[in-house]
Subunit: 232 residues, 2 copies
Amino acid sequence: MTTPADASGTGPVDLKTLTISVLGGTGPQGRGLARRFAQAGLTVVIGSRTEDKGAATGADLAAATGGAVTGTDNLGAAEAGDVVLVVVPWEGHDALLESVKPALAGKVVVDCVNPLGFDKQGAYALKVAEGSATEQAAAILSESTVVGAFHNVSATLLEDPDVASVETDVLVLGDDRAATDLVQALADVIPGVRGVYGGRTRNAHQVEALTANLISINRRYKAHAGVRVTDV
Amino acid sequence: MTTPADASGTGPVDLKTLTISVLGGTGPQGRGLARRFAQAGLTVVIGSRTEDKGAATGADLAAATGGAVTGTDNLGAAEAGDVVLVVVPWEGHDALLESVKPALAGKVVVDCVNPLGFDKQGAYALKVAEGSATEQAAAILSESTVVGAFHNVSATLLEDPDVASVETDVLVLGDDRAATDLVQALADVIPGVRGVYGGRTRNAHQVEALTANLISINRRYKAHAGVRVTDV
């Protein structure tokens, strides 16, 4: 699970030769993932709605990790990235992707968005016309290879510098083997995390929606719950 | 997680005083759960479409486990059970529940059904008008307390007498605390299994549908995958 082949099957991709961009990288989940990638020695570009906010978060993370993190606006980050994570709020997910679509052509795009609603009883899964955020991204980004991943990882744990190891698996969903292998390897760089192939894009909805259950579990057990797949 | 209180809060329910019925108990999943409950010393009644088939499976399991297992038709099993598991195929789920509804009034009903479709690319989640099998059961069984559970447990492992410990958590979904506590305790009787509260009934869909992902994982990794919740 740790040696992805590139699309031509000639060997594993060295993640350190790639730039990893995080659109919506100024929110807790995006910041947390960027922090962990930077700590692993990867080159990271934070994207934000404004260049100033992106640059500020990039500078903060560079100072905190000693890693190669910069920041700019979402379009600049989309252009800079070889692999581009989408960690934006569900509201505006479609509009953001439309706005950066040309910059993402030919790239692996990792959708990390959970379409959830919240009320007094907690979190619940929203209905998505395309089936899931991942499928919406795939429908919009017809020139990109879309993978779903990192849905269920606690932002609190990712962002906590005292948490050395984040004990969870990342289910990686997609229809392109080279792309899912690459994203599994990306997940594997975070100590404690393991990237596990989780099925095709059409089965992304339930993995996104499972975050609502983890929120319920966190409330009941005062935990930062994650998921491990057994027997794998 | 192992000492459920009864509805009046006067103390834990002793599962050994209850009869556990398994509707659809002649299929692999139902048989596997019945086997494990019987091994744990619980009294189990298998239900089937015909009394003969139910009785035969009950006799087989009694011989295999040395436990208190009998079998009959689904209506007889619904009448006999204090806690009634529904482990029938998705096709006919609604009709079966309608047919045994009066016998289930006032009881805890545990829906274990995964509405899945299968094609050349594997398994996928079916759309359910009520949202999930659990919610469909709750809509039909208005006089019962419906809980969703046991969706993701490998039938192969449950049925294998050489598997001493089934390494998985069971996510238990429901809106009634006493009922979810009881079903968590029921899960806990299976060695290796841990019952974990997984959220309200409205969040059952994704846990049912996650079985499609586990089927994909099983195919990719040649595994009998289960799920553990971390930090709980």
